[in-house]
């Protein structure tokens, strides 16, 4: 390094006579070419190159950042079409133009974010081929047939996206609209396959299935259909919906905070509501998908399961509990703010139920966040008789965690139902019986979840995992699948007692939406690290060892810094994409002629919004 430093100084002295710009230009070129030093370093050694490195940041860290950004962008690009298509279908079915407008607004973001995702995918591929030639050679050998499928899918997805976006205005009426809806469905189908094909490559690294004989296609198919492939597919699909919903919410939150006209406030308040609704809609089943994934990991390899949930990565799950807890609190807070601000006069009526739900959520979160092995000084550990607390240690195990997570899902679902029913009065003759049935169901389900959780301490782990935890999940799903249609039926004939008014949410509602989106992104970066680190010192678990200088798991603090960095970079990228995509709208708005904005329309889950003139209110 000293030698290089001297060289640079000599160069600077030589060039200083040519004016300031030349050294600057050459230095910049030198910096850009710096990776070549590292890239070429191993190329000179005998035998095939297994690894290349890059000075400074290191190859693994660079791949970490790019892969995470690519994955987050991909989650956004795959989540938003689901979100947009659902909105378009709702708009098509109900005839409400604002849903169609919202769907279009987000599809517009897709075109620029799609290109950025592909760009990061390309960079990632180049880096992987350059830094890990041996591994990539092996993966190519196995997955070559699926590479071809992936390319074809990309072509189809791109063509469909162009048709979907550019044909939006031209396909608005009659059969054309139906065809446009079909295009949206097709877009999502291709997007789903675009997601699951690379998932097979990543899951293969964690749970490989290698067959020595057979054709290329047979080997590729066996490797693709590995034990964690479908659990990851389902988990990511739901997570992408959550990401899309919450990012939409955050976008609406920021626009709401900066809105200058009552119309803008109405529109972005409503958009924030839809984003939060879809985010919560995905969030509720997400833990079940995560549980299934962990279950499959344990089934595939106990070591990997224990490393993740009981070993050195187990602290990540405490961080996960904290982030999910904030997400649950943030989503519920937004619901509650909606009840107290959008439905005039409802504050006192819902105060007690809100407080009850908040206390249950906090108690559950307290249990979920209590680690099994506590952070304690030697003196504290001596008093406890180890790092497990003799009394509260019972909160640290899966039986407790499963119970409280299910209860939190139930409470959030109740919040949503309460919001849905707020400002309405059921008129059906069977309303009383239905409400009693729903209340009974919720209470019985809550008790059953707790009983199974406590009982779980007294049975062998296999009984708890296979029967008790599964039963808890099924109970909660049953409650959601029963109460949702029942409430919808009940509200069909209900009369609105208090109109829901948009644009009256306080600024903190906008901040809550932004916070939720950041929590989701942090969660994805956290669990991305967990999934990748569960392979420990293997590129392909049990098949190909990592023999590079980076064959160690980064310390949790170091990893957390990268998670924060990746989250920040992704937020900046999304902000840039949003800014670019909406630049044209702002210019148009500046020249007068604002598009039609929503007024007095009933919400998907709430009363109509026959807007009065905005009142002065305390936020």
């Amino acid at each position: 390094m000293r030698h290089q430093g001297g060289l640079i100084r000599r160069m600077l002295r030589t060039l200083s006579g040519h004016g300031g710009w030349l050294p600057g230009l050459l230095l910049a070129a030198g910096c850009l070419a710096l990776p070549a030093v590292g890239l070429a370093a191993e190329g000179a050694t005998a035998g095939p190159t297994e690894y290349r490195d890059i000075p400074g940041i290191g190859s693994r860290n660079l791949v970490w950042i790019i892969a995470q950004l690519h994955l987050l962008l991909a989650g956004f690009v795959l989540g938003v079409p689901i979100f947009a298509w659902l909105c378009e279908v709702v708009g098509w079915k109900t005839g409400e133009k604002r849903y169609d407008k919202l769907a279009k607004e987000f599809t517009k973001l897709l075109t620029s974010s799609y290109a950025t995702t592909a760009l990061f995918g390309g960079i990632l591929l180049f880096l992987l081929v350059a830094f890990y030639p041996k591994l990539m050679n092996y993966l190519t050998d196995i997955f070559f047939p699926s590479f071809i499928v992936y390319c074809l899918l990309f072509l189809l997805e791109t063509a469909t996206l162009y048709l979907y976006w550019y044909g939006w205005d031209a396909m608005q009426d009659g059969g054309k609209k139906t065809f446009h809806i079909f295009l949206g469905l097709l877009l999502n189908v291709f997007a789903f396959f675009i997601m699951i094909v690379p998932n097979s490559w990543a899951t293969f690294q964690a749970s490989p299935v290698v067959i020595a004989e057979g054709t290329d296609l047979q080997r590729a198919w066996a490797a693709t259909w590995n034990p964690t492939w479908w659990p990851v597919n389902i988990h990511r699909l739901i997570a992408n919906v959550v990401l899309g919903g919450y990012i939409c919410g955050a976008y609406a939150g920021i626009r709401y905070l900066s809105a200058r006209t009552p119309e803008d406030r109405d529109h972005y308040d409503w958009m924030g509501y839809v984003g939060n609704f879809i985010g919560v809609f995905g969030l509720l089943p997400l833990p079940f998908a995560g549980y299934w994934l962990m279950r499959e990991i344990y089934q595939y390899n106990q070591q990997m399961g224990i490393t993740l949930m009981g070993g050195f990565l187990s602290w990540l799950f405490i961080l996960q509990a904290m982030l999910i807890g904030v997400l649950f609190l943030g989503s519920n807070y937004y619901f509650w703010l909606g009840i107290t601000h959008r439905i005039p006069g409802s504050e006192m009526r819902y105060r007690k139920p809100i407080m009850t739900m908040l206390v249950i959520l906090l108690l559950c979160l307290g249990v979920w966040m209590t680690p099994h092995s506590l952070v304690a000084s030697l003196e504290e550990a001596r008093k406890m008789g180890g790092t497990h607390h003799p009394l509260l240690g019972v909160f640290g195990v899966m039986s407790a965690k499963m119970t409280v997570s299910n209860l939190m899902i139930l409470v959030t679902f109740m919040s949503f139902i309460m919001y849905w029913r707020a400002g309405k009065e059921e008129t059906a003759g069977w309303a009383k019986a239905a409400k009693a049935l729903m209340s009974g169901l919720l209470v019985v389900a809550g008790i059953a979840v707790v009983v199974l959780g406590v009982w779980g301490y007294f049975v062998p782990a296999i009984v708890r995992i296979n029967y008790f935890s599964t039963s808890q999940v099924l109970i909660v799903l049953f409650v959601m699948l029963t109460i949702t249609p029942l409430t919808a039926l009940l509200l069909k004939s209900a009369k609105t007692t208090t109109e829901m008014v948009w644009g009256r949410m306080p600024p903190r509602a906008g901040y809550a939406l932004v916070l939720n989106a950041i929590m989701v992104i942090l969660l994805m970066t956290l669990m991305g690290y967990a999934r990748s680190s569960s392979r420990v010192h293997w590129h392909i678990y049990g098949v190909m060892r990592d023999s590079s200088q980076y064959a160690y798991s980064p310390a949790l603090g170091y990893a957390a810094a990268f998670m924060a960095l990746n989250t920040f970079c992704f937020c900046m990228l999304v902000a840039f994409i949003f800014w670019v995509a909406t630049m044209g709208d702002k210019a148009k708005a500046g020249h007068g002629g604002k598009g039609e904005l929503p007024h007095g329309m009933p919400a998907m889950a709430g009363g109509s919004s026959a807007l009065d003139a905005p009142e002065t209110r305390k936020f």
Binding site: Q302, G311, T340, H372, A376, L378, G386, T387, L391
Partner: protein
């Protein structure tokens, strides 16, 4: 100061007192580490802020007095208290920061992995010794000879030598603890022998347990495990 701040302050104080003085005195309990108390107090504070900011009126009632106090707006005699808070609070933060980063003669807390993943070669391993009453009795005999001085004749971690260790020997009667100990027994016995060391992720091990795997035959170790499970009335975590 507004009356609406009194209730939250009392609530936080009550929860702190419960965690600090009531929970440790419940039979079978122990003092909570400060990290856990801090966690629970943070949750309580978050709950208070969420509930207090639910409506415009409640937010004003909660935040208004704080804002007025900090800005010094019409607080009269509390002006001196305001200056004290504005001076002392940064000092407190500085002191905390210094305290957590300064060199200390106290040994650092070690967050070693309690559940290291057992080595791969032990996946699906089953006890080669038959589970007969004779073997269990023999295991209890070995336990009495080799383990009970520290882990206690009642399997409760209170053997005569237990006082000499910090942290103390494990109490096998606790189900959560027991599962760890079962793992440790396997690791300290069978795996140390086979893999000549514990899993790396379980480091630093720093266990005071003797290396029984070089002292005792495998058969004895398996019998001790059976006798210990039976005596503590626990069952091992099963492989699927």
């Amino acid at each position: 100061m507004g009356g609406s701040l009194t209730k939250p302050a009392i609530l936080i104080a009550v929860i702190y007192l419960i965690l600090k003085f009531v929970v440790p005195n419940i039979p079978g309990s122990a003092p909570l580490p400060s990290s856990l108390i801090f966690l629970y107090l943070m949750l309580t504070t978050a709950g208070i802020v969420i509930f207090a900011t639910m409506s415009g009126e409640s937010k004003d009632a909660f935040w208004g007095p704080i804002q007025r106090f900090l800005t010094g707006e019409n607080i009269g005699a509390l002006q001196a208290a305001r200056y004290a808070v504005l001076i002392l609070f940064p000092l407190l933060v500085g002191w905390q920061t210094y305290g957590s980063t300064a060199v200390s003669d106290q040994p650092p807390a070690e967050n070693r992995t309690i559940h290291p993943a057992p080595p791969g070669e032990y996946t699906g391993l089953s006890n080669p010794v038959a589970k007969t009453p004779e073997n269990i009795m023999q295991g209890k005999g070995f336990y009495a000879a080799f383990c009970s001085p520290c882990h206690g004749g009642n399997f409760d971690g209170k053997g005569p030598a237990a006082r000499g260790f910090n942290p103390p020997p494990a109490n096998f009667r606790r189900s959560d603890n027991h599962r760890d100990v079962a793992g440790k027994l396997l690791c300290s016995g069978a795996s140390r022998r086979a893999a000549s060391g514990l899993p790396i992720e379980g480091m630093p091990w720093k266990s005071a347990m003797p290396r029984w795997e070089v002292e005792l035959p495998d058969e004895w170790i398996w019998k001790i495990i059976m006798g210990e499970y039976d005596g503590a009335h626990q069952s091992p975590r099963t492989w699927e």
